[in-house]
Amino acid sequence: MIGVEDIAKRFGKQGEVRAVDGVSFTAPDGEITGLLGPNGAGKTTLLRVLATLIVPDAGSAAMDGLDVVSERFAVRERVGVLSDARGLYPRLTARENVAYFGALHGLRGAALDARVESLLDTLGLRALADRRTQGFSQGERMKVAIARALVHDPPNILLDEPTNGLDIMSVRALREQLRGLRAAGKCLLFSSHVMQEVAALCDRIVILAHGRVVAHGTAAELVARTGAPTLEEAFVSLLGSAEGVA
């Protein structure tokens, strides 16, 4: 479970860029929560705070009750992140890439091997396992990056624009994976600027614009609140008011 309370983060010399400006929400276990917002809304910054990579200027966030700042190393053991940067080691094989991160998470010996093998199977990487990742396609790289993020079997999973650059078959396969993780009771937080992505997958939606939460709730709640006929219309009307466009 992820709880975010009034998080703020500024960048720039005088802190003139308010990337995230007082965001609060909760992402429960066993559900996929979507962070929806246009480019520059603060999605990546928010996820980086939750991934313990950056320290917020104000507010707090907790993962399963552990503070992301003061207990960041404990948090890292309980979270898997598929970030914006998903570089692999090109001279290592798919299996070695995944196993390296397993070892960094403290897995060893037979336990590490078993975990890596099962991930290779569930993600359909079996045939690629012993090839160097050098010549992998986008979709193949993504699968390895997911395996790497999940190698320590974390209860919380953050995904930053995971469908970027993927073809339709890879996107469908990814959705299946995420639904499987939800069924296993994981807490998933998924960011995207594509409304259809979020609508197709997420149980609840947090709409961000200019670093603030514009609305949150289930798709049905958002539609009901705006009185719009579809989620897309609801999204546009919510964002429209946030952007200052009629």
Partner: protein, 389 residues
């Protein structure tokens, strides 16, 4: 600890699979030294040959028959000097020529010294051994002829020689020996640098450029563990390259068919061991320093620019010590690179290493290594590490 080992193992596998890195290290450091060594040996051998059989172009041989037959007795081959000998010497086609003055015989008859001109170009090193040789021969003739005259007048020749100068050259095969010494030391050190450069760049700036740094920093691995793991891996790689270089020097000097010029230094198992002891702190220092400098660059390209600065220092310090022919002050042993260089020269002369001096040479590299690693750790702990600012 397990995490550090995991990082070391991964980095070593990664570096070993980087074919370009491995080839560059092998060629520039490991093979480069012995190749230079063979070239230098051949150069020394030809120098020795040139000094042995002298062919001397002479203009006006007929004016000094006695001198000519003296030179021929000393196994100098005399040839008629070409008319444009001055131009040829200037161009470097000819090393030296002797011109006998037309008045030579006449002057001698009158009891005046006869004039012989030795024409050469001092700016050309190649001809120096021959010029020296010819000069010595002419002086020898001067002495012999002078002594004969004194004897004719009933005076013992030693009256005219109040000074007896004997050459005692302590540097054995002198210049070329010093050059060889410099070469071996330089290449051994260079190997440590070359061996650590590519892996250090790849594992720091390369890691960021490939966007694998962010996932790495999101693991529970502490920044210090990451810094130590990468440093150990690069150090092991550098140590392997240095080890291979020393081994190849040893094999070349022991078994390669080198021309017999006489080795101006020792290079046996003992010396290899001593060199390893001397070079160890550098094998730890270079990777730490390179990692720190490379981590400060946003891209591999920027990192390379940062790194080439120490490259220059490493090349410059030993070269300066060769050209500034000063007697090294005692504190030089504590200066990294210069200190190692001084100790390497001792080792190659077959002398035992003074323990205190070795300890002194470890001090600065260890301190700088610790500081550099602390710097890398600090850089990795900063939020800005991801953007490289």
């Amino acid at each position: 600890m397990n995490r550090i080992l995991a990082i070391v193992r991964k980095e070593l596998v990664d570096a070993a699979r980087d074919r370009r890195t491995v080839l560059v290290s092998l060629f520039s450091a490991v093979a480069g030294g012995p190749i230079m060594l063979v070239l230098l040996f051949n150069f020394m051998a030809t120098q020795a040959d040139r000094a042995r059989d002298i062919t001397l172009p002479v203009a006006g041989r007929e004016h000094a028959p006695a001198l000519m037959s003296f030179l021929e007795r000393e196994e100098v081959k005399l040839t008629e000097a070409p008319t444009d000998y001055e131009a040829r010497i200037r161009r470097g086609d000819l090393d030296v020529a002797v011109v006998v003055d037309g008045q030579f015989e006449h002057d001698l008859e009158q009891g005046r010294p006869g004039t012989v001109r030795l024409v050469f170009d001092r700016s050309r090193d190649r001809g120096r051994p021959i010029v020296d040789q010819v000069q010595n021969l002419l002086r020898a003739y001067n002495r012999t002829a002078g002594a004969q005259r004194l004897i004719l007048r009933g005076v013992t020749p030693s009256v005219a020689n109040p000074l007896n100068v004997e050459d005692v050259d302590l540097s054995t095969p002198q210049q070329s020996g010093a050059l060889l010494l410099f070469l071996v030391g330089f290449y051994a050190m260079f190997a440590g640098m070359i061996g650590s450069m590519a892996p250090a760049l790849d594992t720091s700036a390369g890691e960021r450029e490939r966007q694998s740094l962010e996932p790495l920093l999101m693991t529970p691995a502490r920044p210090l563990e990451i810094a130590l793991g990468k440093w150990l891996a690069v150090s092991i790689f550098a140590a392997l390259v240095v080890g291979c270089t020393l081994l190849l020097f040893y094999l070349t000097l022991s078994f390669a068919p080198l021309p017999p010029v006489g080795l101006p230094f020792l290079f046996g198992g003992h010396e290899v061991g001593r060199l390893a002891v001397v070079l160890l702190p550098l094998v730890l220092l270079f990777p730490a320093l390179l990692l720190y400098l490379a981590a400060r660059g946003r891209t591999v390209k920027e990192a390379q620019a940062n790194v080439s600065a120490i490259m220059f220092v490493i090349a410059f310090v030993p070269a300066a010590s060769v050209f500034l022919q000063w007697r090294e002050p005692a504190w030089i042993a504590a200066v990294p690179i210069a200190g190692q260089f001084t100790l390497m020269k001792l080792a190659l002369r077959g002398e035992a290493l003074p323990a205190l001096q070795v300890a002194g040479s470890y001090l600065a590299p260890v301190v700088i290594t610790v500081l550099a690693l602390a710097g890398v750790t600090r850089l990795l702990s900063r939020e800005s590490v991801l953007s490289g600012r």
